[in-house]
C-alpha cells in the first residue's frame, strides 16, 4: 500500500492503495466516482475511458502509480453542470439505450474533439472503434459527435 495524491476533476484526492491498482478501481472503490464503468478490464471496450492531461485512456489499464501529477478528468468532471456540448448532443440525439457504455463514449469523443474539432466520418469511426456499445447505438453516437462538433465550432 502507498499514498497517492491525485488531481481528480480539479481537486486533490488522497488514496492509500496498492501501486498496481488500476485508476478504474481507485475511482470507483476509493473515490466513489462510479461514472467510469468497468466493462472488460483489458482495455478492449472503452467503458472506463477517462482523460489524463486531456488524453483519453482506458482507466482499467492505468495503474495509479503511473499517474503522478497528471490531471485526471472523469465523466463527473467533464463539465460543471453536465452541459458539455457532447453531453447535450447525446441527450438531443437520444443516443442511450441501456446507457452503460455512454460515459466512456462521451469521454473518448471529448478527447477526439479536443484534438480534431472537425472530424470526418472516417476519423470519428476510427477514433471511436475502441468503444463498444452492445446496444448498437453507433449511428447515433456518430451523429451526436458531429452535432457537438458543429456547435463547438
Amino acid at each position: 500500500m502507498a499514498n497517492y495524491n491525485l488531481n481528480i476533476n480539479g481537486t486533490t484526492r488522497q488514496v492509500d492503495v496498492d501501486p498496481d491498482t488500476p485508476m478504474l478501481w481507485v475511482l470507483r472503490d476509493h473515490i466513489k466516482l462510479v461514472g467510469t464503468k468497468f466493462g472488460c478490464g483489458i482495455a478492449q471496450c472503452g467503458a472506463c475511458t477517462i482523460h489524463l492531461d486531456g488524453n483519453a485512456v482506458r482507466s482499467c489499464s492505468v495503474p495509479v502509480s503511473a499517474v503522478g501529477e497528471k490531471k485526471i478528468t472523469t465523466i463527473e468532471g467533464l463539465s460543471e453542470n453536465g452541459d458539455h456540448p457532447l453531453q447535450q448532443a447525446w441527450v438531443e440525439e437520444d443516443v442511450p439505450q441501456c446507457g452503460y457504455c455512454q460515459a466512456g463514449q462521451i469521454m473518448n469523443a471529448a478527447a477526439l474533439l479536443d484534438n480534431n474539432p472537425n472530424p470526418t466520418d472516417d476519423e470519428i469511426g476510427k477514433a471511436m472503434n475502441g468503444n463498444i456499445c452492445r446496444c448498437g447505438t453507433y449511428v447515433r453516437i456518430k451523429k451526436a459527435i458531429k452535432s457537438a462538433a458543429t456547435k463547438m465550432a
Binding site: 467503458a47 447525446w90 442511450p96 441501456c98 452492445r134 448498437g136
Partner: protein, 729 residues
C-alpha cells in the same frame, strides 16, 4: 372517445387515496398488464397487488412510479407516456420515478421483455383515463355542472361556459370520488404524447455518469466478492488451496459455496452449469481480483467435456437422421419432392453466442439471521426471490430485492444465479457483499445462445412454382424451427422437423430467441429459391403471401400475410428496390416475430474485399408507435446487433473449455463496422402496439448474406460469416 368498460377486476386493478391531504394518488397494477391474459386471472384481488402509482399533487405536478426495471428498451419512458396520454397532461409536468422496492406493496415485479408495451397498453391507458375521469367528476361537483359539459386539455379542465380548473386544484377532492366503472379512452387520432419522441427520462443522469446501475451500488460496511467457477463445462471443484490468497492485503475470506437448489424448488430461471464455486471476499475489487489469481484450485472431471467439433458432428448427423420429431406436415411433401422439376437444398449453421451485456453480472446482498436484502440488475426478481428463499431457508417475506437500471441484458439477466450466489456468500461471511463478475467470469459461465444447424429443401415445378418446402432443425437443447411461421401456409406440401442435442453447456434465451438465427437463414434460402425460379426475391415472396392471403394452407399459421407483405412492399418502395447502382450490392429479407413485422433492404459496397454497409432501409409494422425516437433506436440497435453477431461473433469450446473469454478474442461489432446510415419507416395503421425490442435484430443477417452473395458470387451458410470468407474480416 371510445367508451370502454374498465374490464378485469376493477377492485384489484385500481385504488384511489388522498395524497397526504394534498392531492390524489391512484395505485394500479402495472404488472397485471405485463402478463398474458391467462396469468391475469390468477392475480390476487387485494391492495398488495397494486404496484404502480400515479400521484397528482396540488401544484399540478404528476409523478408516475414505474415498478419495472429498465434494461435499455426504454419502457421507463414509454410506459408513462401511455398513462400521461390518457390522463391528458403536459408531458413537461410529468416526473417518472423508479418505484422503491416494497415487499408489503409490490409483488410480481418482473421485467416484461419485448411484450411490456403490448401487454401494458390497455391497463396503462385505463389508469390514466380513470384518473382523468375522477378529476373531471371532482371538478363537476365543484363547478356544479354535469361532467358531460367538461373537457380536458394539458391538465386543465374546462367547462363549456368558460370556467376552468387545473388538475392540481381538484386533485385532493378527486381522492374521494369512487373509482368509475367505465372510462373513456381517446381515439388514437387524438394522441399527442403517444407518438411523440420525448427523450429518455434517465438521459441526463446517464450522460453525467450518475450512479444508476447495479455495479454502482455502495453500502456501509460492504465487502467485495468474486467467484471462481470451473474452467470447463464438465468439471467440478476437487480441492482448494487458499493459503496464499487469504494472506493477501484486504482479503477477508476465501470460501466454497454451493448454490444448488433442490429440484422441487428450482425455478426456470435457475439455469446454471456451475453451482459449486470458490468465492474470494475482500475490501476492494482490485484486491479481490489479485487474490483470485493467487488461488490454487484443483478441478476434476464431472461429466463429458465437449468440443465444438463434437457439436458440429452431432448436429450434422441430425440433418441426415430420421426419425425426427415432426412438428407440422401439410399435404404430401415426399411425393412433391419426388415429382419436382428442381430441388434446392441448403444447410445453415450458427455457433453458440454469449450475451455480453456491457455491465458484467453483479449483485449486492446483505443476509442476516432475520432477513435478506438484495439489490442489483435483474429481469426476474420474482424468481430470484423464490430461489433465494429456497437456498437460504428464509421465508419470502423476509427477502427484499431492489432492481437497478441494467447495463444491457439481451436475455442474460433472466437467469439470476449471481444474486443467489451473492446471498449465499453474504450469509456465509456474515457481512454485506457486492458480488462482481469479471468479464471472463461472465463470458465463460454459460447461459449461451445455443449452436444451431438447419437444412432447408424447396421443390419447384416446371413453371417455377414452389410446390414443397421442408425444414429440419437441430440445436443444443432444442431446435430453433418455428413450424407455423412463413413460408408455412403458402405451400401445399410442407414439413417441419426438430432434433435436440443434450449438452452440459448451459443455454438460455438470447435476444429474439431462435428467431435470431431462423430469420436470416430463411431470408438467405428463399433468395436462392427465388433465383432458381428466375424471380425477383421480393416478387417471389409477395406471390407466396398472395397465396397465404387468398387460400392459406393449414389453420395454424401464426402471421398475418397482409401485414407481412405490407412491410415488404413498403421497404421495396422506400429503398427503390430494383434500381441498380454500379458497385453497390443489395439484399433484402423480411421476418415476423414478437407480433411485429420487419423488412430490411441493405446496400453494401466492397472495400478491399470487405463489406461496408452504406445504408439499411427498415419497414416496421409494430402497430402504434409510442415513442418514435426510441422505436427507431431499438430497430437501429437491433439490426446492428444482428449483423454484428452474424458477421463476427462465436463462442467455441475445446474439451469443455470456452475458447473465448473477453473482447480480445470474442469479437463484437464496432463503430466503423456499423451501417453508415439507417432509415426506418413505420406502418401507420392504428393497430394496438406490438414488440419492438427484438424484431429489428433477426432479418438483417439474411439481407446482408444476400447482398454479399451479389457482391462476391459466394453464398454464406455458416456464421460467423467472417470465418467463411476470411477476407471479410
Amino acid at each position: 372517445m371510445t367508451l370502454i368498460k374498465t374490464s378485469y377486476n376493477r377492485r384489484s386493478f385500481m385504488k384511489a387515496s388522498a395524497l397526504g391531504g394534498s392531492g390524489l394518488m391512484i395505485g394500479f397494477s402495472w404488472l397485471a398488464s405485463c402478463q398474458s391474459a391467462g396469468e391475469k386471472a390468477k392475480l390476487p384481488e387485494e391492495w398488495f397487488d397494486i404496484n404502480a402509482f400515479l400521484k397528482i399533487e396540488n401544484n399540478g405536478r404528476v409523478t408516475i412510479l414505474s415498478p419495472n426495471p429498465e434494461i435499455g428498451q426504454n419502457v421507463k419512458t414509454a410506459m408513462p407516456q401511455i398513462v400521461a396520454e390518457e390522463l391528458d397532461i403536459d408531458w413537461k409536468n410529468v416526473i417518472v420515478e423508479q418505484a422503491g422496492y416494497d415487499i408489503s406493496k409490490y409483488t410480481r415485479q418482473l421485467a416484461g421483455g419485448s411484450q411490456s408495451i403490448r401487454q401494458g397498453w390497455e391497463s396503462l391507458r385505463m389508469a390514466g383515463a380513470t384518473a382523468r375521469r375522477m378529476l373531471m367528476e371532482a371538478a363537476a361537483k365543484q363547478m356544479e355542472v354535469p361532467v358531460s359539459e367538461l373537457t380536458t386539455s394539458d391538465g386543465v379542465i374546462k367547462h363549456s361556459g368558460g370556467e376552468s380548473v387545473t388538475y392540481g386544484e381538484v386533485a385532493s377532492a378527486a381522492a374521494s370520488i369512487p373509482v368509475p366503472e367505465k372510462v373513456e379512452l381517446k381515439d388514437p387520432k387524438d394522441f399527442k404524447i403517444i407518438g411523440s419522441p420525448v427523450g429518455n427520462v434517465d438521459a441526463a443522469k446517464i450522460v453525467k455518469g450518475e450512479p444508476l446501475f447495479g455495479l454502482d451500488v455502495q453500502k456501509d460496511g460492504m465487502l467485495i466478492a468474486m467467484i471462481q467457477h470451473p474452467p470447463s463445462f464438465g468439471m467440478k471443484l476437487k480441492s482448494l488451496d487458499d493459503e496464499a490468497a487469504k494472506a493477501m492485503p484486504g482479503i477477508k475470506d476465501v470460501i466454497t459455496v454451493s448454490t444448488k437448489i433442490d429440484d422441487d424448488k428450482r425455478q426456470w430461471s435457475d439455469t446454471n452449469a456451475f453451482t459449486e464455486l470458490v468465492a474470494v471476499v475482500g475490501e476492494s475489487t482490485w484486491q479481490v481480483m489479485k487474490a483470485k489469481k493467487a488461488l490454487n484450485v484443483t478441478w476434476e472431471a464431472d461429466s463429458q467435456m465437449e468440443s465444438s467439433i463434437d457439436h458440429e458432428t452431432a448436429l450434422a448427423d441430425f440433418m441426415k437422421k430420421k426419425p425426427a420429431e415432426v412438428t407440422r406436415k401439410d399435404g404430401n411433401p415426399d411425393a412433391a419432392f419426388k415429382s419436382a422439376a428442381k430441388v434446392i437444398e441448403r444447410t445453415y449453421s450458427a455457433p453458440f453466442l454469449a450475451h455480453n451485456p456491457m455491465e458484467p453480472m453483479n449483485f449486492y446482498a446483505n443476509v442476516t439471521a432475520e432477513k435478506a436484502e438484495l439489490e442489483g440488475p435483474i429481469q426476474t426478481p420474482e424468481f430470484m426471490s423464490k430461489s433465494v428463499s429456497a437456498i437460504l431457508g428464509l421465508p419470502e417475506d423476509k427477502i427484499s430485492i431492489m432492481m437497478t437500471r441494467m447495463g444491457g441484458g439481451f436475455g442474460r439477466r433472466l437467469y439470476g444465479h449471481f444474486g443467489i450466489e451473492a446471498a449465499v456468500i453474504s450469509q456465509k461471511v456474515g457481512a454485506p457483499v457486492k458480488l462482481v463478475y469479471s468479464r471472463e467470469d461472465d463470458m465463460t459461465q454459460g447461459t449461451y445462445r445455443p449452436a444451431y444447424k438447419v437444412t432447408y429443401r424447396a421443390a419447384l415445378d416446371k413453371d417455377n412454382k414452389m410446390t414443397a418446402f421442408h425444414v429440419r432443425g437441430a440445436g443444443v437443447h432444442g431446435s430453433p424451427v418455428f413450424a407455423d411461421r412463413f413460408p408455412a401456409g403458402t405451400v401445399d406440401n410442407y414439413l417441419a422437423e426438430d432434433h435436440g442435442l443434450e449438452s452440459n453447456i448451459s443455454t438460455g434465451a438470447w435476444r429474439a430467441p431462435r428467431s435470431n438465427f431462423m430469420a436470416g437463414i430463411e431470408g438467405a434460402f428463399l433468395d436462392e429459391v427465388a433465383e432458381a425460379a428466375g424471380k425477383d426475391p421480393v416478387d417471389f415472396r409477395l406471390e407466396l403471401f398472395d397465396r397465404a392471403i387468398s387460400n392459406p394452407v393449414g389453420e395454424k399459421n401464426d402471421y398475418d400475410p397482409e401485414r407481412y407483405a405490407g412491410v415488404l412492399k413498403l421497404v421495396k418502395e422506400k429503398a427503390n428496390w430494383g434500381a441498380e447502382t454500379p458497385g453497390v450490392h443489395r439484399g433484402v429479407t423480411a421476418y415476423y416475430c414478437h407480433n411485429s413485422y420487419v423488412a430490411q433492404v441493405v446496400d453494401i459496397v466492397m472495400d478491399n474485399d470487405k463489406p461496408k454497409v452504406k445504408k439499411v432501409w427498415c419497414a416496421v409494422d409494430c402497430g402504434i408507435v409510442v415513442n418514435p425516437s426510441n422505436a427507431r433506436n431499438q430497430i437501429e440497435g437491433g439490426l446492428i446487433d444482428g449483423m454484428g453477431h452474424a458477421m463476427y461473433s462465436a463462442m467455441t469450446f475445446k474439451d469443455g473449455q470456452p475458447e473465448q473469454s473477453n473482447f480480445n478474442n470474442y469479437r463484437l461489432i464496432r463503430n466503423t463496422e456499423a451501417p453508415e446510415e439507417i432509415e426506418t419507416f413505420f406502418v401507420d395503421n392504428g393497430i394496438d402496439p406490438t414488440g419492438l425490442g427484438e424484431p429489428g435484430l433477426p432479418p438483417i443477417s439474411g439481407a446482408l448474406a444476400n447482398a454479399m452473395a451479389k457482391a462476391t458470387g459466394k453464398r454464406l451458410y455458416n456464421q460467423p460469416f467472417v470465418n467463411e470468407a476470411l477476407a471479410l474480416g
